[in-house]
């Protein structure tokens, strides 16, 4: 291979390599573990993780306007596994405590030493609504903390 071609190949590899390493390391730094309730409880104390579960009906406590809300989520596969969550932030519009509409919840935050979860981000999704009213953004709404 001519030296000119070699130069270009190396140059190209440098660019690609730089981007690739940037991406590789950034993923490691920024990935957030995503647990079920059972896995989260087994894992214990953790910082900046996500936990997915279903809202345990009857446990939602709303404070005053702007206050944190508290609720429990459970693992549908292992119903005894429950996690007590305190969420501070914008509550997704689809989130409500109604036995007729089961809600899937994903919370992101810290699992504290006392076994409760302090969440600063939350997504809620009502699975049954999907087929019928599923549109670009129905059912699942999320809030974002940038």
């Amino acid at each position: 291979m001519g030296s000119k071609k070699l130069k270009f190949l190396i140059g190209g590899l440098v660019v690609v390599g730089a981007i690739a390493s940037l991406a590789f390391f950034a993923i490691r730094e920024n990935m957030v573990y995503y647990y079920t309730v059972t896995e989260a409880l087994a894992n214990g104390e953790a910082v900046n993780v996500r936990v997915a579960g279903d809202l345990l009906n009857g446990t939602l406590e709303k404070g005053g306007i702007g206050d944190p809300i508290r609720f429990e989520i459970y693992d549908k596969a292992v119903p005894e596994s429950t996690l007590y969550v305190e969420f501070t932030g914008v509550v997704p519009d689809s989130f409500k405590d109604d036995p007729a509409t089961p809600i899937e919840v994903v919370v992101e935050g810290d699992l504290l030493k006392d076994g409760t979860f302090a969440a600063d981000f939350m997504m809620a999704k009502c699975p049954t609504k999907y087929e019928r009213t599923g549109a670009d953004a129905t059912g699942e709404t999320s809030t974002s903390n940038n």
Binding site: K4, G11, E29, Y34, V90, T133, A137, G139, S142
Partner: protein
């Protein structure tokens, strides 16, 4: 009517199947009638697609709630405007939209080529009809994908209505323009396949589809930006881009499509990068299918997903098929794709184009990596992870800055081999402007490193482009004696491609200025307030004046009034709203904002108490965010300028075609 629609889809399926096979028979047997009938089949396919779409529009407009799709997405209270746009609100309707656009575009492409590209056209038709066949099969056979499914027993008295967040003009434009972009890229893809199959690998397939490429690009640009705008003003979480998998799904083909746009220029001018160009269009087309797949697979959770549907595997299968077929074809023709020229020097315009391409494709793969990582990680380690905005922001920011630099440098470098001397000359003034900007910003107290670099590079690029316009106008004035303004006008008009392109670059820089300002210097505050209280963010203070509550058939509304002051001076009044929709049992926040070129005051009323009047507010100050939308408009205008019909250009093209035909190069 539903029966008519479904029958039309079935017909479409059969016509598409015929359209796949007929051209191939025509080529094999040498009998032109087969090819002619395939062309007619394409027109017929468009026809039945139009009929099926008309049937769905009819069902929507007549509020035919026995149609499951109509019942799911509309209700009697819904305005006509949104009833019509509910066409693409859900899975099956949006696939029907794909079919409609594909049919119309294929028909146009066939009509455009009725007297030329005779050798490639049969394969173009075949490829396009394969895509059509895929979608019509899904539409007619897959449960949950039939837009004409009828509810047994006549259906409900009233439909479920449209999600209120979709009642926004952006919702009407965003999906349609995205699909126009997606489907638009299928035409150059089909031509590329045709060129590979027939071994006619001169750049004629590129020239014939240049307009399609840029038009598709324009629509993708509009789709992405309107989507961001919609998120910003309607979804009300305070931002415009969340690196959501579906946002990424429409961003990736835009990135590779932009790379493709640039690298075909190299092939046209220098006859290089032929293999690369084909890879890029294959990649872009695959990413459009992938994007369509992501919105309906439920594989990756997102605000956009239409939910778990059974369609995922079909799309993946189709994608796999396309990749295997096209890459195979490409490799079998590799020896015919040798370039006539070589890259001469690191410091040349060709090299900067190549760098541009590497960066854009690198960005696309980085985004893809972020999107797929959760799936890969789970498959490999069993751990479930998510990857969110911090990853994307961290990676894309520095790459974006390098891209800005290349955008500025590229027009300043000569083709083939630039000497440091002439580079220095062209480079000097814009570089000085950039450096001065950096110094000024630091002197004025800015310490955010990325922002300083971004703004300085913006100054550099904008002045480089200004120099190009200015220098060209000056030379023209010398030559033609026109005054400088007319010289500029005729310069631009006679070189629409080049100056359209430069205009797009200006738009990109303006957009990035908006992104930089709103990311780096955003200010936020949240607070509970009672009437008369004030919330402060930065130099702004907002006072809660009053609250009005009322109800309609559809919803209960709380509408607060806030007066906004900056440094004590009146700036305006905002009316943040919080609604509660009875039918859907769902609340909704409608933000209000005061928007100027320098910043947005963005106000969200997250909750309120009708009894006490207490409200929970979040107020953001987003500096420079308006430049995002302005930049987007400029990008689109630049694109339009670039493809504006040019008589001299088309004569030149026709002459070239003739020459190449004579040399049997096409």
């Amino acid at each position: 009517m539903n029966q008519v629609g479904y029958t039309a889809l079935l017909l479409g399926l059969m016509i598409a199947a015929y359209g796949v096979v007929a051209p191939l028979i025509g080529v094999r047997t040498g009998r032109r009638e087969w090819i002619k009938s395939a062309e007619n089949a394409t027109y017929a396919f468009a026809g039945v697609a139009i009929v099926a779409s008309a049937a769905l529009f009819y069902a929507l407009i007549t509020r035919d709630f026995s149609n499951e799709y109509v019942a799911s997405y509309t209700s009697r209270e819904l305005s006509w405007f949104y009833t019509v746009s509910a066409f693409w609100a859900g899975n099956s309707g949006s696939m029907l939209l794909w079919v409609l656009l594909l049919g119309v575009f294929a028909a146009i492409a066939v009509y455009q080529n009725r007297h030329k590209n005779r050798e490639i056209l049969p394969y173009v038709i075949s490829v396009l009809m394969v895509v059509g066949l895929f979608f019509t099969i899904l539409l007619t056979t897959s449960a949950g994908s039939n837009p004409f499914a009828v509810i047994p027993g006549g259906g409900p008295a009233n439909g479920e209505g449209l999600n209120p967040m979709l009642e926004n003009p952006g919702m009407v434009i965003h999906p349609v323009t995205l699909y126009l972009g997606y489907v638009g890229f299928s035409i150059p893809f089909a031509f590329a396949m045709g060129a590979l199959i027939t071994k006619r690998l001169g750049d004629f397939w590129i020239r014939s589809t240049r307009r399609w490429t840029i038009i598709a690009w324009i629509f993708l640009t509009i789709g992405n930006i309107v989507g961001a705008w919609w998120a910003y003003v309607t979804l009300g979480w305070g931002g415009y881009w969340a690196w959501d998998p579906v946002e990424n799904a429409s961003f990736m083909p835009w990135l590779t499509g932009t790379a493709f746009l640039h690298s075909v220029m190299i092939q046209e001018k220098k006859d290089m990068l032929k293999v690369w160009n084909i890879i890029l269009i294959i990649l872009t087309f695959c990413l459009t299918i992938f994007g369509t797949f992501l919105t309906r697979s439920g594989v990756i959770s997102s605000v956009h997903s239409f939910g778990q549907s059974s369609l995922g595997p079909f799309f993946i299968g189709f994608l796999g098929l396309i990749l295997v077929f096209s890459l195979n074809l490409l490799f079998s023709r590799l020896d015919l794709l040798k370039s006539r020229n070589e890259l001469d020097s690191f410091v040349s315009r060709e090299s900067s184009f190549l760098l541009n391409n590497l960066i854009l494709v690198g960005m696309a793969f980085t985004v893809l990596w972020g999107v797929l990582f959760p799936i890969i990680s789970e498959a490999v380690t069993g751990n479930k992870v998510t990857v969110g905005p911090p990853f994307f922001d961290q990676v894309m920011a520095p790459i974006g800055l390098v891209l800005m630099f290349v955008t500025g440098i590229c027009p300043l470098i000569a083709w083939r081999r630039a000497t440091l001397a002439n580079l220095g000359k062209n480079f000097m003034y814009p570089a000085a402007v950039g450096a001065i900007a950096a110094v000024l910003l630091v002197a004025l107290g800015m310490r955010h490193v990325y922002a300083i670099i971004s703004f300085s590079l913006s100054a550099f690029v904008l002045s480089a482009i200004l120099v190009e316009f200015g220098r060209g106008a000056w030379v023209r004035r010398e030559m033609s004696g026109e005054n400088i303004v007319r010289a500029l006008g005729s310069l631009v008009w006679r070189n629409k491609r080049r100056y359209g392109g430069y205009t797009v670059h200006v738009g990109v820089i303006l957009l990035l200025i908006g992104v930089t300002g709103s990311y780096a210097f955003k200010q936020e505050a949240s607070q509970n307030l009672n009437k008369g209280d004030t919330i402060s963010v930065g130099a702004y203070s907002l006072t809660y004046d009053s609250m009005e509550t009322y109800s309609t058939d559809e919803k209960q509304v709380g509408r607060a009034t806030f007066s906004v002051k900056k440094d004590g001076k009146d700036v305006g009044v905002v009316y943040p709203i919080r609604e509660y929709y009875f039918a859907k049992d769902q609340p909704w926040t409608r933000i209000d904002r005061i928007s100027t070129l320098s910043r947005d005051v963005y106000v969200m009323m997250l909750d309120y108490s009708a009894e006490t009047g207490e409200v929970n507010m979040q107020v953001d100050i987003n500096p420079l965010v308006s430049w995002l939308w302005i930049g987007g408009i400029v990008m689109v205008l630049g694109g339009l300028l670039a493809i504006w019909p040019d008589r001299r250009d088309s004569l030149r093209l026709a002459a070239r075609y003739e020459r190449q035909a004579r040399l049997h190069e096409i």
